[in-house]
């Protein structure tokens, strides 16, 4: 098995899909020779040229809007929005165009596009460069939402998203870009809608996404020592959501903690908690706890930032609260 960073795994997925299908192309700000703000597109520009690895003006509205037009007419664009925070500039193109065109047209169009977006805090980049906004998109029928935590998940899911005929939001965590992981030799695509149990356990289910999967695993390790066995479930895709795997786990452990980096209020944790409460109520032995960022913008100072975003300690506390 080879080992790749999360960024390399994403680049490899892009490369393979671009080789396989000449309708696939990349566009975004500084994705060309510069290689992307976080280096993700890297050498793709050298491999595929500036037509298929397109540097755009600082025009998110046009990047996404043009992707919609290109997708509707036979291409398979993979636009990049430099920071999730800038999705605010192109929401109309995502929400009112990409997501709804197929439906509004009575099924007579498809919009195969995958929007790659770095999310998350941890770089002292402050309130306009640190957000995790995935929850918004789960509330938009017509979009799929992917949020991988490991290099191999990122690779397999990105390939699936690019081959998917629907508009898909693909959220990558900036802090994960440099993390290394093994890529199975037989890895091809990982279907959207399959959760992955990152660690088996029997006392409590921790549902965690993206970077929080690692913090949940750390928490699980520490809790193990105290005799608490934690199962860590990574949904990997928020829509389609693999409710079955989550519910199975909760039916086994009877307790649930949900962890995401986005602030708690209005976050996707509420959705998961509601699904569990509705569909596995009789199995629940304790309140469901949500762990997420405090409900504040992300501050600049690193210590404040750390205080605001959820950490391993917060997960441990929540697990203890439901298991005691």
């Amino acid at each position: 098995m080879r080992s790749l960073t999360y960024a390399e795994a994403i680049r490899e997925a892009l490369k393979e899909e671009m080789e396989n299908d000449n309708r696939v192309f990349v566009m975004g700000e500084d994705v060309g020779k510069f290689g992307g703000c976080f280096g993700v597109t890297g050498n793709l520009w050298e491999l595929f040229g500036e037509e298929r690895v397109r540097d755009t003006p600082i025009s998110e509205t046009a990047i996404i809007g043009a992707s919609v037009g290109a997708a509707a007419t036979g291409m398979r664009p993979v636009p990049e929005i430099m920071f999730a925070d800038f999705l605010t500039v192109c929401m109309d193109q995502l929400v009112n165009q990409a997501a709804k065109i197929r439906y509004m047209f009575g099924g007579k169009a498809k919009i195969p596009m995958t929007v790659r977006v770095p999310v998350g805090a941890g770089l002292s980049a402050a309130a306009q460069h640190s957000q995790s906004l995935e929850a918004w998109f789960t509330h938009v029928p017509g979009l799929k939402v992917v949020m991988p935590s490991t290099p191999s998940d990122a690779k397999g899911l990105l390939k699936a998203a690019i081959r998917d005929d629907n508009p898909t939001m693909f959220f990558e965590h900036k802090i994960l870009y440099s993390i290394k992981g093994e890529i199975p030799d037989d890895l091809d695509i990982i279907p959207l809608g399959k959760a992955d149990i990152k660690r088996e356990g029997k006392d409590v289910t921790v549902v965690a996404t993206s970077l929080m999967v690692y913090k949940a695993l750390e928490a699980a390790e520490q809790l193990e020592k105290e005799g608490i066995s934690v199962e860590v479930v990574d949904p990997r895709t928020l829509f389609p959501l693999d409710e079955d795997t989550i519910l199975e786990s909760v039916k086994k452990t009877h307790k649930a903690v949900i962890v995401h980096e986005a602030c708690v209020r209005g976050g996707f944790g509420g959705e998961i908690a509601a699904v569990i409460t509705e569909k596995a109520f009789d199995y629940l032995d304790a309140p469901i706890k949500r762990v997420g960022a405090l409900n504040v913008p992300i501050p600049f100072n690193g210590k404040l930032e750390n205080y605001v975003i959820p950490g391993t300690e917060d997960i441990i506390k929540a697990v203890k609260a439901v298991t005691e």
Binding site: T61, G65, M75, P77, R102, M104, K108, K110, N166
Partner: protein, 327 residues
């Protein structure tokens, strides 16, 4: 003028067809047969017809909330349109879209759009796609004077200009964005002045003169096919009806309205064609009757069509997932 007699007649027929279509929509709306919002194109027919006469079936258009004219001009099917406007299962969008979302991607009609300015960037994308796929397809992007103040105007045209995309941006300057006169929403007198900002040609034509529109668009389409990039064409016109059906139209004067009525593009073109001997008075009447007959048939088709099944509401969201039905 390079237009053949056949082409001129075809253009006249399309204009009449649109007018009759819209007049019937007025009536159906007044009769309570049409749900939702409808925005009519009466008075602006020369633009859609002039423009679409300059392109081929393989080409694309993006339309607006005021889209019936564009769709008919591009070859959209009258019966499927009427059925859609009435919300029927047989409509273009199976009753899910309605007037503001009619599309026929196979005919290159990338959809009406309920978002003002929604078309600019989609058109740029269709242009990019054509370019990358190595075809010579051109995209016409229709939009209003009001839309020229939207975010998308700026980003869409800029992108098309820097990449030399084969897109023609066609402003239907009917003087108003709902109730706001152009002089109150922008300082330029001609929307085409804005072409300068993108280093592309900008022209203004009489939007009530179908041949003038045709000529300007034809020129722009040639440039686009040649890889010379986009053009911005402004067509001055006026809508005869309110912004939407039901608009009490408190914001413009009787006088202004009457002045524009005199410039109605259809009688003008009719006069020209009869003067030129292209059409006789009798042929004109026949065309008008033919147009009404087609509408009659379309309305009958639409009225007799079934409502969509309730469960169709959950289909067509994704290509591969049907999430749930109402239990």
């Amino acid at each position: 003028m390079e237009l053949s007699k056949e082409q001129l007649i075809e253009m006249y027929k399309k204009m009449v067809q649109i007018r009759k279509f819209e007049e019937r929509v007025v009536k159906l709306f007044a009769d309570g047969k049409i749900p939702g919002f409808v925005h009519l194109y009466i008075g602006e027919e020369a633009i859609a017809v002039g423009a679409c006469s300059a392109i081929e079936p393989k080409d694309y258009i993006t339309s607006t909330h005021r889209g019936h004219g564009h769709l008919i001009a591009k070859g959209g099917k009258i019966d499927l349109m009427m059925a859609e406007i009435l919300g029927k299962a047989t409509g273009y969008c199976k009753g899910k879209g309605g007037s503001m979302h009619i599309a026929d991607v196979d005919l290159g009609i990338l959809g009406a759009n309920g978002i003002v300015g929604g078309g600019f960037t989609i058109a740029a994308g269709a242009g990019l796609s054509a370019k990358m796929r190595g075809t010579d397809q051109v995209t016409l992007c229709f939009f209003g004077d009001g839309a020229s103040n939207q975010t998308t105007f700026h980003e869409g045209i800029n992108m098309a200009s820097i990449w030399n995309l084969p897109v023609v941006f066609i402003c239907e300057n009917n003087q108003y964005g709902i109730s706001l006169h152009q002089s109150r929403h922008q300082r330029v007198a001609d929307v085409s002045d804005r072409a300068v900002a993108y280093g592309i040609p900008g022209v203004t034509v009489d939007g009530n003169d179908v041949v003038a529109v045709y000529e300007a668009v034809n020129e722009a389409v040639k440039r686009a096919r040649n890889g010379e990039g986009p053009t911005l064409i402004e067509c001055k016109t006026y809508r005869h009806r309110g912004h939407f059906e039901g608009d009490p139209v408190v914001y413009r004067s009787e006088n202004e309205f009457n002045e524009w009525l005199k410039k109605d593009p259809i009688p003008r073109f009719e006069e020209k064609l009869t003067e030129m001997g292209v059409l006789s008075k009798k042929e004109v009447d026949e065309i008008n009757e033919w147009a009404v007959k087609i509408i009659d048939e379309a309305v009958e088709f639409a009225l007799n069509s079934p409502e969509p099944e309730l469960e169709s509401a959950v289909r067509d969201v994704y290509t591969d997932i049907i999430e749930e039905v109402r239990k």
